[in-house]
């Protein structure tokens, strides 16, 4: 852990390779030597990654190590942990945290916080459930889902405007939201106490699965899509004369994806198959990743999270970005609420309460999204949700108390943030902050 020992926090040139400080050859007339990067070989790529890790750019390594350790521990304590049936449960348990967490990642990327997502998910679930109540006035399922998500987006719009236009700190706006939307959940439920969901489609989201063949088709399609996209990216870059990552690395990535996908599907297929909600989470993750990585909007979210003033001078509408991320967060929270309601087949006065808010944010942070803004990925929420659900699920199998569950989850969150903070220090001392 070399990065822990470096005292300096000032910027310095990367000491890893090449890149001399002074351009000694610079002539006034301007030579035309481009920054030359040859195509990397697998060896040089691996060396580069190792340098990066030493410099504090850990990527998803700590979290993958964490998941493996958690799996080994629980399996050694209770052999039911790594069974197919439990694996299906785990996917279903992780889904609401993953979906709500993916929404809040956008807010965290700006270095802001949304404390209202718990009860916004409650509002979404309750609106959906009430609209589907078979009391003669019920609406069709798609309308109920659209109404619930729209309500979440509208809540995000309101909170985003209060934050961006009025200038109230996001913490305070969404703290008010936390209280207010809790009240709205209680008001909507009224004296009913519990609203049972009878809609087959809604219940099926969390409780039904793809056919075995369907599961295989989905995973094969995903691997094929990934391979084609990688091939197209490499070809475009090669055509433009730009350096590429080594082909062998891409092949390794495709192989890893294919093997991992095959293992997951075959384990899930031993019992119920791939739950619909698992497919939904993966689809949302792909869409979210596309938005953050491939669109101007996503680029501007990272920019505003990195340096507001630079973004403003670059002509980015800061207010528009700020309001948009709260709308995404609200909409995804409502969708998460629908998934949660689907799992429980009902909503009650406790909808959106409890640990939903904090575990969803914890999922994003455990997965590697920084609370300081500018750093993070949509997939971090999915990975973090798997960790959180694993702990919850594993401790449940060990029959420990709710108190112990919270304490353990807290320690895992602390461990994740500690890794992030130490890595951040490492990045600073090696000039990668």
């Amino acid at each position: 852990m070399r990065f822990l020992e470096r005292p300096s926090r000032t910027y310095q040139a990367p000491d890893s390779a090449g890149g001399g400080e002074i351009d000694s050859s610079s002539s006034p007339s301007g030579t035309t030597a481009a920054p030359t990067e040859a195509n990397e070989t697998l060896g040089s790529y691996v060396r580069g990654r190792i340098d990066g890790i030493k410099g504090g750019d850990l990527g998803s390594i700590p979290i993958i190590v964490g998941i493996i350790l958690i799996a080994i521990y629980f399996q050694s304590r209770n052999e039911n942990f790594l069974t197919s049936g439990n694996f299906v449960n785990l996917v279903v348990q992780a889904a609401p945290y993953a979906v709500i967490g993916m929404g809040v990642v956008f807010v965290l990327l700006l270095g802001e916080i949304d404390l209202s997502i718990g009860f916004v998910s409650g509002v979404g679930g309750v609106i959906m459930a009430l609209l589907l109540l078979p009391d003669g006035n019920q609406v069709s399922t798609p309308v109920a889902i659209a109404a619930a998500i729209s309500a979440g987006v509208a809540i995000g719009l309101l909170q985003g405007v209060l934050f961006a236009k009025v200038g109230i700190p996001s913490f305070v706006v969404t703290l008010a939201g936390l209280l207010g939307w809790n009240g709205v959940v209680l008001l909507l439920i009224g004296s009913r106490g519990t609203v049972v969901i009878q809609d087959e489609f809604i219940i099926g989201i969390s409780n039904n699965s793809l056919s075995k063949m369907g599961g295989w088709l989905v995973v094969e399609g995903a691997v094929l899509l990934y391979a084609v996209l990688q091939y197209l990216a490499v070809r475009t870059r090669a055509k433009a004369g730009l350096p590429n990552v080594p082909v062998s690395l891409i092949l390794i990535r495709i192989a890893v994806l294919a093997i991992a996908g095959a293992i997951v599907v075959s384990v899930l297929n031993e019992t119920r198959g791939v739950p619909y909600v698992g497919v939904l989470v993966i689809a949302l993750m792909l869409v979210g990743t596309y938005v953050t990585d491939k669109t101007r909007f996503g680029r501007h979210v990272y920019a505003v999270g990195g340096n507001v003033e630079a973004s403003r001078r670059a002509g980015i509408s800061i207010d528009r970005i700020r309001i948009s991320v709260f709308m995404i967060s609200g909409g995804m929270a409502a969708l998460g609420g629908i998934i949660l309601a689907s799992r429980l087949s009902s909503v009650d006065t406790g909808a959106g309460g409890g640990s939903i808010l904090l575990l969803s944010i914890a999922a994003a942070v455990i997965g590697g999204t920084s609370l300081f803004g500018g750093r993070g990925t949509v997939r971090s929420a999915v990975i973090g949700a798997i960790v959180i659900a694993s702990i919850d699920n594993g401790l449940g199998l060990l029959n420990v108390s709710a108190g112990t569950k919270y304490v353990v989850t807290a320690l895992v969150l602390l461990a994740a943030v500690t890794v992030d903070s130490l890595a951040r220090k490492g990045r600073e001392s090696s000039g990668r902050a």
């Binding site: 090449g18 030597a33 491939k294 003033e309």
Partner: protein
Amino acid sequence: MSEQPLLELQGVSKTFGAVQALTHVDFKVRPGEVMALVGDNGAGKSTLIKGIAGIHPFDEGQYLFGGESVSVSGPKDSAALGIEVVYQDLALCDNLDVVQNMYLGRELTKLRRLDETTMERKARETLASLAVTTLQSVRQPVASLSGGQRQSVAVAKAVMWNSKLVILDEPTAALGVAQTRQVLDLVKRLGDNGLAVVLISHNLHDIFEVADRITVLRLGQNVAELKTSETTQQLVVEQITAGKLSTVPGQETAA
């Protein structure tokens, strides 16, 4: 170097409340010329470039660009004319890489999808044309660059947009010797490539190395426009400080 000025300001003034920041200042810069703008703190250097950039438009006076009278009332107007400002506190996002920063706010898209390939290729071309060769990779985050490299990226970002006039606000203020060297070479190259450059600096040594002419501001007035080859650092210092105190009676508080 052509004689027709690219930018010419005639008698521009600017007041902020009771403070007269600029009083009938004339200023011009020609294509291919590096014009240094010097003056003590409060002399009006920043106000002048903010006026040129349209951030705080001038109250009165003529603003001529390419020989034609233009109205610049916002940053978009000046950008449309081809004026780019590289600010002292570097408008770069640390968490984004070099290409992402150079295209920030003006990303290229293909079917609404970011066109990374074209952006990367063009960014490389721009960096190459400025002989910025010390970057390890154009895909490394700006945070990992040295001060000189960051400044180079900020300048490259400014010149990429068919800009005709680049204004550099204290580009070497926070840099070490070697990095200053790097940036000064870059400034010279901008001039050699036919751009008009306005360079604000407190460092006369730097100025005498790269500037063709020097405009001296004092207390909101243009007190001298000197050819670098025909003057000395001593003379410029006297112009900045007004030499003897007796030559600025009663104006000590005006700044």
